[in-house]
Subunit: 367 residues, 2 copies
């Protein structure tokens, strides 16, 4: 089978590396040549509105997937004429529009911060009346890693936020003083089988994920159950196939949904070494109609992102249980250049290794 | 860094897949296009005596390694002018000549079946006098997977064996009624650090490896120590860098050396999922001057080779803990097309999964 991947970033790269052992072949599509995935598989270079390039990409593909959620839905729907596309384009559509996303949570009874649509300046006032302050004004589309949003703490912030973001469809969301950020990642196959990797605790800095720790000891069984229930509801509603991530806040001991990512997810990179079957392999198994692999953890793991700079490789590899993943990208401020997964047999060992790695990673990070 | 790999078979393929996460790039060299490694990295197609093709291959390489031991030593020595070659060519030379190999074992005090060189028909008689019957007559060079050898049980077999093999340099070896076959795989870096994966029990059929089980419970601590001592002696003597495999027989509770493979080895494929760091990654770490990774086992593992035919992929993946590795080769009788590593938390679970997989694998095997 030949799998087509829209986007050729690190997620595409790790998909290809996970899929070769299954006998799969890969072709990626991206406007940028020599992207991370293109270093390990064939790439078609083209823009997402270039139908000729998309047709060339689609030739002979058995299935199409995507590795970032800002790929235009039109391109995905166009490709669906040539080969099955998973996850279903409807999931992509929802994920690209914060209003549709939040509305879906609300419809399914999944707690989420209060929100209201904002289409003009008067709409912002109406939304403020409904949501209250503090609140966050966000573009409905296109923002990621903290971009395209403004925090409104007092009425004095409203005009500046409007100046910054007004003019495109917006959403006003209740500002949530959450205790921490969690995600749950699950996979669903063509016939509805479902496996989850459980809850993962995530730490961000500057709007960028820095550390993910999948540890049952950090959460309660009840929370795990609830997270599983939420992601299962979403997958059923979307008739989902592949890996889905649900990002949540813990607020007063409760889980509130923040957003979904209809793809393999940064907070699941630890599964390469830390789970019996990685999220990358399971995504491919799902979209290729193969049985899902078991998702249980192997020992204890933690994942650190390498942002803007790469620490000394030899120093990293000298840490017991450290597994380095570089994406073949040029260093640039705030850019995800790679990650390290630390795997250990017990929590104490994990803590010790993490301390060593964190020092190295922080010293090298830029942005 | 760019790593050049002589040979583009499955070992090269798995080296590349293990090395991309370290940020390495790969170029392989092989006379056959679209070989397993060429599906995942750049390939230079050429014969091993084509100096122009070798020069093209060598351009910009930081280090050269090889993935099968019948690559001509002349090609390797030629490339050593352009970039460091690891493992050292001297190890390749020894591995290619059974007489040199057995002589090295003898010199280092490593038990090995009795042997004698055979250069002509009279030499065969002299060797028979020294070694006795039963014995195995083998070509000194080129044989693998049971090819290029004849078993001599009675004096009546001698003439036929000579007719079959006479005319090239031979070695006569004592026929050993061994209890079982074992291997030990170790890795040594540029500054002499050393890690071993411990003893592995191997089962062959038709001269081809079928099953490898790395299980400390199958061996004694004393045997492990002895195997470690042997492979360490060999590595020191050869000033070895990279992964080395030593194949042995167990004879009356003792370990006798049979042969070395100066490369990653089929009996070490389980290390991808079954060890903290795989043999492939550790080989690359060693030859690239990076710190070695820990080699301890993760749970219990077993590896089954897929020979001549591939079982139903969905049935294999449905077995808990089964990890499939296909090499992208056309099916052909007796050909290694892939392997499955089974990983389990305890021996009982391993035994149950192995029984399921063995049934699937045996039904599909051809040759």
């Amino acid at each position: 089978m030949i799998v087509g991947i829209l986007g050729a970033g690190q997620l595409g790269r790790m998909l290809a590396l996970a899929g070769y052992p299954l006998g799969l072949r890969f072709r990626c599509f991206d406007p940028m040549p020599d992207s991370p995935a293109a270093q390990v598989c064939e790439q078609i270079v083209g823009s997402y509105d270039d139908e000729a390039a998309l047709a060339k990409f689609a030739t002979g593909l058995d299935v199409v997937t995507y590795e970032f959620e800002n790929v235009p839905v039109a391109a995905v729907r166009h490709l669906a004429q040539f080969a099955p596309v998973y996850p279903p384009p409807a999931a992509l559509e929802v994920a690209q529009d914060r209003l549709a996303e939040k509305s879906l949570f609300r419809k399914l009874g999944i707690p989420t911060p209060n929100f209201a649509a904002v289409n003009d300046r008067a709409g912002l006032d109406a939304a403020l009346h409904e949501v209250g302050l503090p609140a966050v004004l966000k573009t409905r589309r296109g923002g990621y890693d903290g971009k395209g949003q403004a925090v409104l703490r007092t009425p004095a912030d409203v005009d500046m936020a409007w100046q910054q973001l007004g003019g495109e469809p917006l959403i006003l969301e209740q500002f949530v003083a959450f205790e921490r950020e969690l995600s749950v990642i699950a996979v669903r196959d063509l016939v509805g089988n479902f496996h989850s990797y459980g809850l993962i605790e995530n730490s961000h800095k500057g709007g960028i994920l820095r550390l993910s720790v999948p540890d049952a000891a950090l959460t309660t069984a009840a929370m795990d159950q609830i997270a599983l229930h939420f992601i299962r509801l979403l997958m059923l509603q979307l008739n989902y196939v592949g890996v889905l991530a649900l990002e949540m806040f813990e607020v007063g001991g409760e889980l509130w949904a923040n957003e979904i990512a209809p793809r393999v997810h940064n907070s699941g990179h630890w599964t390469i070494e830390g789970a019996e079957t990685s999220q990358f392999e399971n995504h491919l198994r799902a979209i290729c109609g193969l049985p899902l692999g078991y998702t249980y953890a192997r020992g204890h793991s933690a994942m650190l992102n390498l942002i803007g700079g790469v620490p000394d490789v030899a120093a990293v590899l000298a840490v017991e249980g450290a597994h380095l993943h570089l994406y073949g990208k040029e260093a640039r401020r705030g850019r995800k250049l790679g990650h390290i997964t630390l795997r250990a047999e017990d929590e104490q060992e994990l803590g010790e290794g993490l301390w060593q790695l964190q020092t190295l990673v922080d010293a090298a990070a830029v942005g």
